[in-house]
Symmetry: C3
Subunit: 351 residues, 3 copies
C-alpha cells in the first residue's frame, strides 16, 4: 500500500511545501530513507543530515524549514510538532500494513454463556471469559487472555497474548495491554497479629480510563475497600508494580520497573524515570517529574524535577565516598570543632 | 447474606457492648458506612470520625472505647487487635459472597493420567498437570495454570489464573499464588570459562510451607544442588525475585519489587520495604526490618530497622549534593589541611 | 544411570589421578557426597573439607591437588577450571536423568497451517503458533507458549511453559527462555503533544543470537524503527527489562531485576549486579562490571568495576547521614568560610 503526501496533509494538517502527488510507502530514519519514504527532523543536531536525506519527503518545523528546507529540496510537510506528526503518519502506515484480528470467538476459547461479547470483537485461542464480563466493540483479546467475572473492556481496547484481567475491573476505550499484564490481583493487605499475618480481603476494583497503555508484565492490584484508579491517557511501561488504592492522574507516564506503593495519589502530567519508587500514602502534585532510580519518600507539592540516586563511580572511588557518607556526622562534628577553635583563635587575637 | 453481631463475637471473640441482634451485611470505612455495615477504628487520628460514623457497629480497642464509645452510641465490639478482628470479619463476608470454584477438571484442561487430583479440587480451563503431580483436597488451579512433574500442592491452596509451578516443587496448605507467579525455574548458575558461560544444571527444588501468599508475577528459582526454602506464613508481594538457594524464615513479609540474590538466608518475622535488594550469600537475623529502596550489601546480625537510600531533592539541589558526594574524599582532605593549619596556628600562638 | 570416571575424562578432558573404573551416579556438594558421587573444589576455603569428603571422586585444580590430593586419597580429576568441568559433568547427568520432550504437536495446540514446525520439535499443550513462524529442529515450546507471525526459533532452543514470543522476532540455537518471558512487545515510544501522548508504532524486531538464556518474567521490547539486539551467549536472569533498541554485546550477563532503558549500547563480557539500572542512549564499553543496585547515568568508556548505591545503616544513623547529604552544599560553604578565616588569620599573623 502507498499514500500520497497530500492525503497525509488532508488527514493530519500541516503545510505542504512541494509536490503532494508523490507516493510514500513507509517511514524511515533520516540516514536510511529512500525515494519512497517519508522521514522527520525533530532534533536540531540532525539538521545537516536532514538536508542530505534521500527521503522523498521530510516532516519538520517551520524554524527548521527556514534553515534547511531549500538545501534539502524535496517535499516538506511543515508542522508545529513534527514528532507527533510522524507518530500519526506511522500509525497510518501501521494500520495499512497490519493484518486485522478477525472478529469472532476462536473455537478453543472458553466464553461463558453469561458473558457479553460484541460481534465485532476478536477472542483468540485459549482465552477464558467468565460470566458477566462485557467485551466491547472491536476489542481484541489475544491468545491465552483471561477476563474475570463482571469485568468491562471498552471498545477498541486490545489485549496482546496472555493478559490477565480479574473480576469486576474495568478499562475504557482504545487501551492497549501488553503480554503478561496482570490487572486486579489482591492488594498486599494483612493485619499483623503477634507477628503473623491475617489476610485482609481486597474488595475494591481497578478502574482504568480511556487511551491507557500498560506494558509487558506490569501488575496493578485491586483496591482494599475502595478502588485503584488509573485515569485517561496514562502510559505505563513494562514491569511496573501499582499497589492497591493508588490513584494515577491523567496523562502521567511511567518508565519501566517503577513501583508505586499503596494509596499513593499521583497527579496529572507527571513523568517517572525507570525504577523510580514511590512510597505509600504520599501525594504527588501535577507536573512532577521524578528521575530514574529515585525513591520518593515524602509527598511532593510543587511541580518540578526531583532526583535522588547515588552517583556512580569507579568502585574504588565509591568505596571511599561511601565510607565517608557512613560517617558524615563525624565529619560534621570535626567541622564544628574547627569552627570553635578558630573562633577562640580569632577572639584571642582581637583581645 | 447477613450476619448478626453476636455471631461475630461467638466466632471471633471480643466483648460486645450494645445489641448483638443487629444484622450486618458488610464492612465499610468509617465515613461511608451505613446502618447495615460494621466498621473499625485502628488509627487514633480517626477517633472523632469514628464517634460520628453511621455504621451499625464499630470494632475498636478498649482504650478507644473508653474515649469515644459513649459518644458513638451504637454497638461496639471491643477487641485487643481491632485490625486483625476486622480482617477476620472481612474474610467471613468474603466467604459468604464469593462464588466457590466448582470441583472437578475442566474439559479443556490437560491432566496426565499419572497425576493425582483430589476429587474436591477444582482444575480450571487450559490447565496442564504433568505426570506424578499431586493436587490436594479443595485446591483451586485457575485458568491456564501449569503444574510440573511430581509437584505437590497442599490442601486449600489456590492458584489464580496463569500460575506456573515447575517440576518437583512443593507448597503446603492454604497458600495463595497470584496470577503470573512462576515457581521453580532454573537458578542463574553458570561457570565462567574464558569469558563465556557454561550452564550449571539446577537440580534443587522450591519448598514452600503453609499459609504462604505470593503476589502477581513474582518469581522463585529452584535451588542449584539443595533447595530454595520459603517457610510458613511468609507473605510476598508482586514482582519479587527470589534467587536459588535463598531461605526465607517464617512470617517474613516483603513488599513489591524486592529482589533477593542467591543463597541469602533471611530470618523470621522480618519485613522488607518495596524495591529493597538483598545481595547473595548474606545472613539476616530474625526481626530485621529493611526500608524501601535499600540495598543490603552485608549480613545483618541484630534486629532493628535498616535504611540506605539517597534522599530525594529538587533536581538542582541533588546535582549539587551529588557533585560533592562524588568528591567527598577531596572535602575530607581539605578538612585535614585546615586542621593542620589551625594546629600550627595554635602552636605558634602558644610558643 | 551411571557413568565411569574414565568416560568423563574421555568426554571433557582433565587428568585422572586414581582409578577410572569407579561408577558415579551423580554430583553432590563436598559435605553430603557419598561413595557413588563426584564432587568438586573451587573455593580455597573449602580445601580441608574437600580433603575429608566421602565422595568417590573430586574435581579440582592442579594447585589444590598438590595441597590436598594425597590427604583426600580418592580419585581426582585435575582440570584447569574445576567449576566449568563440574558444570559439564552436571549437564551430562541432567541429560541422563531428564525425560525428553516428545516430538510432535500436542492436540490442544493451535498451529497455523502456514507455520513451519520441524518434525523433531515438541509443541506442548495450548501452544499457539501464528502463520509464517518457523520452529527449528529439536525445539521445545512448553505448555501455553505463544509464537507470533513470521517469528524464527533456532534449533535446540527451549521455551519453558508460558513464554510469549511476538511477531517477526528471532532467536538462534540452543537458547533457553524461562516461564513468563515476553519478547517483542512494543517499546515505550510516544510523542508528547501538549501534555498528552501519541503512540509511535514500534516496527523493529528483537534479534537474539545463539546460546542465550533469558530468565523468568524478563521482558524485551522490539525496536522502534531498527531492532533490539541480544548477541550470542548473553545470559539474562529473572525480572529484567530490556527496552527498545538496546544492544547487548556477546557474553554479557545480567542478574535479576536489572533494567536497561531505550537505545543503550552495552559491550561484550560485561556483568551487571541485581537491580542495576542503565539509562537510555548510553554506551557501555566491553568488560564493564556494574555493582548491584547501581544506576548508570552516563556512558562508561573504560573497563572496570563501577558502583553507586547508598550504604545501608541502622535507620537512626541513616537519618543523620541523609540529613547531612541533603545539605552538603551548606557544609561545603562552611568549610570555605573556615578557609577564608584561617587565611586571614595566617596573613594577619605574618604581617
Amino acid at each position: 500500500m502507498s499514500t500520497r503526501l497530500k492525503e497525509l496533509v488532508e488527514r493530519f494538517g500541516g503545510q505542504l511545501q512541494g509536490s503532494g502527488d508523490i507516493e510514500i510507502v513507509g517511514i524511515a530514519p533520516l540516514d536510511v530513507a529512500g525515494p519512497a519514504h517519508i522521514t522527520f527532523l525533530t532534533n536540531p543536531k540532525f539538521r545537516s543530515q536532514a538536508a542530505q536525506t534521500k527521503a522523498a519527503a521530510l516532516i519538520l518545523s517551520a524554524a527548521d524549514d527556514a534553515l534547511i528546507g531549500a538545501e534539502y529540496g524535496g517535499t516538506r510537510i511543515v508542522a508545529p510538532n513534527p514528532y507527533a506528526y510522524f507518530a500519526r503518519v506511522a500509525q497510518l502506515f501501521e494500520a495499512q500494513s497490519s493484518i486485522p484480528a478477525a472478529p469472532g470467538v476462536h473455537p478453543t476459547a472458553v466464553v461463558d454463556s453469561d458473558a457479553e461479547v460484541a460481534a465485532t470483537a476478536s477472542i483468540g485461542p485459549h482465552v477464558v471469559i467468565e460470566p458477566g464480563a462485557k467485551i466491547g466493540e472491536h476489542v481484541v483479546i489475544g491468545a491465552g487472555g483471561y477476563v474475570g467475572r463482571d469485568a468491562r473492556i471498552g471498545a477498541y481496547t486490545r489485549f496482546y497474548a496472555r493478559v490477565t484481567f480479574h473480576a469486576r475491573c474495568e478499562i475504557g476505550e482504545r487501551g492497549i495491554l501488553h503480554s503478561g499484564v496482570v490487572i486486579g490481583t489482591d492488594g498486599f493487605g494483612f493485619a499483623n497479629e503477634a507477628g503473623t499475618y491475617v489476610r485482609i480481603p481486597q474488595t475494591g476494583r481497578v478502574m482504568i480510563g480511556n487511551d491507557v497503555d500498560i506494558g509487558a508484565n506490569t501488575t496493578v492490584d485491586r483496591g482494599a475497600l475502595s478502588d485503584t484508579v488509573i485515569e485517561d491517557g496514562v502510559k505505563l511501561d513494562n514491569q511496573i508494580q501499582i499497589a492497591h488504592n493508588v490513584h494515577i492522574g491523567a496523562h502521567t507516564a511511567m518508565a519501566g520497573c517503577v513501583g508505586v506503593a499503596g494509596s499513593a495519589k499521583i497527579g496529572k502530567y507527571c513523568t517517572f524515570g525507570g525504577a523510580a519508587m514511590i512510597l505509600g500514602h504520599l501525594t504527588i502534585a501535577d507536573r512532577v517529574h521524578v528521575s530514574s532510580g529515585s525513591l520518593v519518600s515524602r509527598s511532593i507539592h510543587e511541580p518540578g524535577q526531583y532526583t535522588g540516586f547515588y552517583p556512580l563511580a569507579k568502585n574504588a572511588d565509591w568505596e571511599k565516598s561511601a565510607a565517608i557518607v557512613r560517617n558524615l556526622s563525624a565529619m560534621r562534628e570535626k567541622i564544628r570543632e574547627l569552627e570553635k577553635t578558630i573562633k577562640s583563635l580569632t577572639e584571642s587575637k582581637t583581645t
